[in-house]
């Protein structure tokens, strides 16, 4: 009932751990896999060791999370042990990668592709560093350039382009990525925001600005997925504010084939994957759907 196929990869259910959530460590990824995720995404991997920002890096406000972790990474060449442990993962591994420019993306893609993850996700949309990502994700040309360069490096491994909702026309960006060789689109990364502690009169995040995730951005995610679905034929890994089966179904009806969950782990712990799957199943039973694939895009006329 819940099993599906995402860009050629079989998933026992459509839920996927979003990148950046507990994903720097192979054993945590496996823990989430065992908790019920259909696939798990690694924390974005960069070309070399990077610390990210000082704390506070992640806070939870009334309607979601706000983070500026700043793309910490051990660097793509210093992760042998993680890769070895990941061989034992009961579900598919999606490796997320970033770079400050096309050569860096190529370098990381090459190193990561050697480890044969099920899929590679190019994070061209992170808002939390001066140099990385968002630049690409808001320009169709720049996005296409990264995607086609990465695609060349990784051969047959399916490539996901992860997009930012800050793009003026996310459908156009998705289309450019599809034409450049992306096998799937992931949307959305976080929405830019800031919160201030008024007693301290200082932004709470050390990096000042950060990315909003969680329930607050669900309508943004639905809208972006809708636009992408209208623009491309490749499947969509939809995410943004999912912490219930109803949320997941909403993103699927907008056009998502698989559903990423990040901040939902904050609200419900790793059991959020089972919870969401159970709720999807119950809803499908009540509403006479046989296969989760039937839900994809049905809100479009």
């Amino acid at each position: 009932m819940l099993s599906t196929n995402f860009a050629g990869i079989e998933l026992k259910n459509p839920t996927v751990l979003a990148s950046g959530i507990l994903g720097a460590n192979a054993e945590l990824l496996i823990r989430i896999a065992n908790a019920g995720a259909g696939a798990v995404t690694m924390k974005s991997i960069g070309p070399s060791e990077r610390n990210g920002h000082n704390n506070p890096t992640v806070i939870a406000w009334e309607h979601g999370l706000l983070n500026a972790v700043g793309l910490p990474s051990a660097g793509c060449k210093k992760m042998e042990e993680e890769w070895k442990l990941l061989e034992k993962s009961p579900v598919s591994i999606i490796a997320s990668i970033y770079g400050a420019n096309v050569p860096e993306f190529e370098e990381v893609a090459r190193a990561v592709a050697e480890k044969k993850p099920a899929m590679i996700e190019a994070n061209i949309s992170c808002p939390n560093s001066e140099k990385h990502g968002q630049l690409f994700g808001t320009s169709a040309e720049a996005s296409a350039e990264v995607i086609s360069a990465v695609k060349k490096e990784i051969g047959k491994i399916p490539l996901i382009a992860k997009l930012t909702p800050q793009a003026l026309n996310i459908g156009e960006i998705a289309k450019a990525c599809e034409e450049a060789g992306a096998d799937a689109i992931c949307a959305i990364n976080t929405v830019q925001g800031m919160l201030i502690n008024i007693e301290a009169h200082k932004p709470i995040l050390h990096f000042k600005k950060g990315g909003i995730s969680g329930s607050a951005i669900k309508p943004v995610a639905v809208k972006c997925i809708w636009d992408i679905y209208e623009a491309v034929k490749i499947p969509i890994l939809g995410m943004g504010g999912v912490s219930s089966g109803r949320d997941a179904i909403e993103l699927m009806q907008a056009g998502a084939t698989a559903i990423g969950i990040g901040s939902g782990v904050y609200y419900h712990g790793p059991k959020v994957f089972k919870k969401v799957c159970n709720e999807i199943r119950e809803w499908m039973q009540k509403n006479n759907y046989k296969n989760v694939k039937e839900l994809v895009g049905i809100a479009h006329d």
Binding site: G20, I21, L22, G23, A24, N25, E27, L28, I30, R31, K43, E49, R50, N51, G52, N54, N55, P56, T57, V58, I59, A60, W61, E62, L65, N67, V69, P72, S73, A74, G75, K78, E81, L195, N197, E199, A200, K202, I204, H206, S263, V265, Y266, Y267, G269
Partner: protein, 268 residues
């Protein structure tokens, strides 16, 4: 459900030892012994500290080490710092009738409330408090009120000369405890664990890792498949057995996994 720092005014600062101060903060918080809070210095950083007083007001007890604690030590009564928490699981002393606490250095901080709580519950308590030197013995007076206190110092300037773990081994040879609670440098904890395994005694160790979110999202504080911020900071023997990284590896801010030695060096 929110996790945002709230500003708390420093009501009182107590010099506990030459390198350790307790900051009493004007904020109400209920927490269990062993739980911690994140302390924020706007524009500088945010770090985890065990709560050494809870209830109508709270306290953190801090050793001056790096950039953050230096900045904290520069503050005065009347200044404010940001606090969020409590976080973590805290110690579990259900069913414990006779306990041993082992505290090394600043590790006395997380066990202070525990010792006071055990005393209240009339649980028989032996405490081994270790420090480099006599002057650095943290919470000596407070801990002495809660049970039998044994002091060890590296230089022998107070109590017995030697390590806390030597004292522990002696006790374990003679006595049976329902649980050994311990906090201190990981090398020490590693030895405590080995002793408890050898003598088949339950233990609960309070671990430390570099933290970011402190609420189980970022994965920074992982030890194998465990999160120090959420599953810990207090871990049972059963959990420690599944933690090959314990006593051996930790993750830098970059998430890179390194030996404990390299980790300690990085923090210098």
């Amino acid at each position: 459900m929110t996790d945002l720092p709230r500003m708390a005014c420093i009501k009182k600062i107590m010099q506990e030892t030459p390198s350790i101060k307790t900051f009493y903060l004007d904020m109400q918080m209920n927490a269990k012994p062993g739980q911690f809070a994140m302390a924020w210095l706007p524009g500088i950083d945010e770090k985890p500290f065990t709560l050494t007083a809870v209830g109508k007001e709270i306290a953190i007890t801090v050793q001056e080490k790096g950039k953050f604690t230096k900045a904290l030590f520069a503050l005065h009564e009347g200044n404010s710092i940001g606090i969020r928490g409590p976080y973590g699981n805290g110690f579990d002393y259900k069913g414990v009738k006779k306990a041993c606490i082992v505290a090394g250095g600043c590790g006395a901080a997380p066990v202070l409330l525990l010792a006071q709580e055990l005393k209240k519950k009339k649980i028989k308590l032996k405490i081994i408090l270790g420090a480099r030197t006599g002057k650095e013995c943290l919470f000596k007076k407070q801990l002495a009120k809660t049970g039998d206190l044994y002091i060890t110092t590296d230089d022998g300037s107070e109590g017995e000369k030697g390590f806390t773990t030597t004292a522990l081994e002696n006790f374990l040879q003679k006595e049976k405890f329902d649980c050994v609670f311990a906090c201190g440098p990981e090398q020490m904890l590693s030895k405590v664990f080995a002793l408890c395994e050898k003598f088949k005694v339950e233990c609960q160790l309070n671990l430390e890792r570099f933290m970011k979110c402190s609420f189980g999202i970022c994965g920074q504080c992982a030890i194998n498949g465990f999160l120090v911020c959420k599953d810990g900071p207090v871990f049972s023997g059963e959990q420690l057995r599944k933690m090959p990284e314990f006593g051996n590896f930790a993750r830098l801010k970059s998430t890179k996994k390194v030996s404990l030695q390299e980790y300690a060096q990085w923090r210098q």
